[in-house]
């Protein structure tokens, strides 16, 4: 059953790409809608800057729009797309390596609360695992932005797009062994940077 769904998705993607290759603007809009959030997320987390991420995302889809006629279906479309994403992000990094900003620990949580009540506070707030989920996510985002660019890109492609090592190797223009090594180093660097989260992340899983 799962295999049928995958086959159907592949066929649907192929039809969409073929329509784009014929210059169908609506089909391209559909393709854009399918991939925009993931491409945006990789660009946003890689650059750490919304304006730069907009530039990167726009460039990726422009290159996709102008180059999709050259796409051959023997290749994997996601790999092809993420090669564009990786190249654009890394190019942008080279241009701006001194100017990329790294935001730290912004959060959007908080609710109304009255006087100090230690008993309620401990019971309701600190024993609740979800208390700091948003901020943990921000901490991880900050730590990822501090990784070296090649490690950062490997982590983002793996965790946003769930590409296989072979697909990542193709997208990044390196061997699967290099991908494994970058992910190893990326995982270790994240663990070391966020070692203070060990208790809560470990306890949650």
């Amino acid at each position: 059953m799962e295999r049928c769904v995958v086959m159907s998705e592949q066929a649907s993607e192929r039809r969409l790409i073929e329509a784009c290759q014929q210059g169908d603007r609506e089909a391209f809009r559909e393709l854009f809608d399918v991939h925009k959030d993931r491409v945006w997320s990789v660009a946003r987390h890689f650059t750490g800057d919304e304006a730069v991420a907009r530039d990167v995302t726009q460039q990726v889809f422009l290159k996709l729009f102008t180059g999709i006629a050259q796409f051959r279906h023997e290749a994997n479309f996601k790999t092809w797309l993420y090669r564009l994403v990786a190249n654009e992000c890394l190019d942008e990094f080279r241009k701006r390596r001194r100017l990329i900003s790294f935001d730290f620990f912004r959060s959007e949580d908080g609710d109304e609360r009255g006087e100090v009540d230690m008993r309620d506070w401990r019971q309701e707030a600190f024993q609740e695992e979800s208390l700091a989920r948003l901020e943990i996510s921000e901490a991880v985002k900050s730590a990822v932005m501090q990784l070296k660019p090649k490690l950062r890109m490997a982590i983002l492609l793996k965790y946003f797009e769930d590409l296989s090592y072979e697909q990542m190797a193709e997208a990044l223009g390196c061997s699967a062994g290099t991908v494994a090594s970058r992910l190893n180093r990326g995982h270790k660097a994240l663990a070391q940077k966020l070692t203070h989260l060990r208790g809560i992340i470990g306890a949650a899983e």
Binding site: S41, A53, L62, K95, V116, R122, A132, E135, Y165, E205
Partner: protein, 384 residues
């Protein structure tokens, strides 16, 4: 059995990327090898963290912008407003080999000038005067005076003290059992690196000209006098006697006024500043809070004492805690701080709980600790 550790394969093992036979070998190895097992725990923790990355929605207007460009519009690169222009294809009329030759000649001239200058220009140094004992620069005991050149270490034993003239901008007194290095000596950046011991500094230059690197944070002078003590574990204690000092490390900052103190710890960075006349219970609870990490019960217990013991003057500490706490912790701190210093017009509870920087600045102005202007000035790009 352990001649062939599996550390390089652990992420691939975690992601199910290894062939079944190799995966079985890794599993067997992990069962017997504690070193690789520890490393696998590290990889698993890193992977669990990465799984917390949250997918974000692309801006809603992205398609419209894209479509405008596809229809022949120009590309407006927002990010380019703050960056250097991207490299364009060269319009230089010379053929590339001529450019290459010209570049090589320029390079040679550059090297020549550099070599000549480096022979002619002595290394920057600061003067050191012996106060007592036998201070050492490098491996040489100094006489009454000595020169601490860029990159050199000054060491005092348990009977020695020395005074350093920090260029034209101040004085540093180095106490016994200290070790520090002259790390930078330019007009706009005077920098020492201190690995252990105690020093006191009196700086009369404008803010952001004198820095001391410690193992866990950088002390940035904002026009002041202070003492700094670094122990063998890399923990540093800052005590300010005049003006302001900032402790900074990897985006975490503490601003310490006169009579204020701050502890910075390896792996944690600058702690929360406090006034030295605060109660011992308050100081101890603050130390526990700063080191509690995500140990919620410990944080709750420590914060309870901090809030109970806080005086109006401790608004300094409470204000810093607003940006170091989570969810309900921050709400409680807001309430306590508001009871001492009502938030001014334009500052809302909701805004402060979401760490609105403008609101935090506005509130700071009402704490009676001086204007936030000095800090905005300091927030410019720090020298490397």
């Amino acid at each position: 059995m352990f001649w062939n550790h599996v550390s390089k394969k652990l992420s691939a093992y975690r992601h199910g990327e290894l062939p079944s036979e190799e995966s079985r070998r890794v599993a067997e190895h992990l069962a017997d090898c504690s070193r690789c097992r520890d490393e696998y725990e590290e990889i698993k923790f890193g992977a669990r963290l990465a799984q917390r990355l949250a997918l974000e929605q692309a801006p809603a207007d992205l398609w419209n912008e894209l479509e405008a460009v596809m229809d022949g519009g120009t590309i407006h690169r927002r990010g380019a407003e703050n960056a250097e222009a991207p490299q364009r294809k060269s319009f230089w009329p010379l053929p590339s080999f001529k450019l290459g030759a010209a570049f090589a000649v320029l390079l040679l001239i550059g090297f020549g000038v550099f070599w000549f200058q480096s022979r002619k220009t002595p290394r920057p140094f600061w003067e050191v005067a012996r106060i007592e004992g036998q201070p050492v620069i490098g491996s040489k005991v100094i006489g009454e005076v000595g020169k601490l050149s860029l990159g050199e270490w000054l060491t005092t034993d348990d009977e020695s003290r020395a005074r350093i003239d920090v260029g034209q901008i101040g004085l540093v007194t180095v106490e016994p059992n200290s070790r520090l290095k002259l790390a930078e000596a330019r007009d706009e950046e005077h920098r020492l690196a201190m690995t252990r011991g105690r020093m006191s500094a009196l700086i009369w230059a404008p803010p952001r000209q004198f820095y001391v690197d410690t193992p866990s944070a950088v002390a940035v002078d904002l026009g002041c006098a202070y003492t700094l003590e670094v122990n063998d574990d890399g923990q540093a204690v800052l005590s300010v006697t005049a003006g302001w000092v900032a402790f900074e490390s990897e985006g975490r900052e503490s601003f310490v006024p006169r009579d204020g103190m701050c502890v910075t710890r390896p792996g944690i960075g600058p702690g929360t500043p406090y006034f030295n006349d605060a109660s011992e219970e308050f100081k101890q609870a603050l130390a526990r809070f700063d080191t509690a990490g995500m140990d919620w019960p410990s944080r709750a217990a420590a914060l309870g004492i901090i809030l109970y013991q806080a005086r109006e003057r401790d608004a300094l500490t409470l204000w810093h805690l607003l940006s170091r706490t989570f969810g309900e912790e921050r709400g409680l701190i807001y309430d306590k701080l508001a009871s001492f210093v009502p938030p001014p017009a334009g500052v809302t509870r909701e805004g402060v709980l979401s760490r609105d920087k403008k609101m935090l600045d506005l509130w700071w102005e009402n704490l009676g600790l001086g204007s936030a202007d000095f800090w905005r000035m300091w927030k410019g790009p720090a020298p490397k």
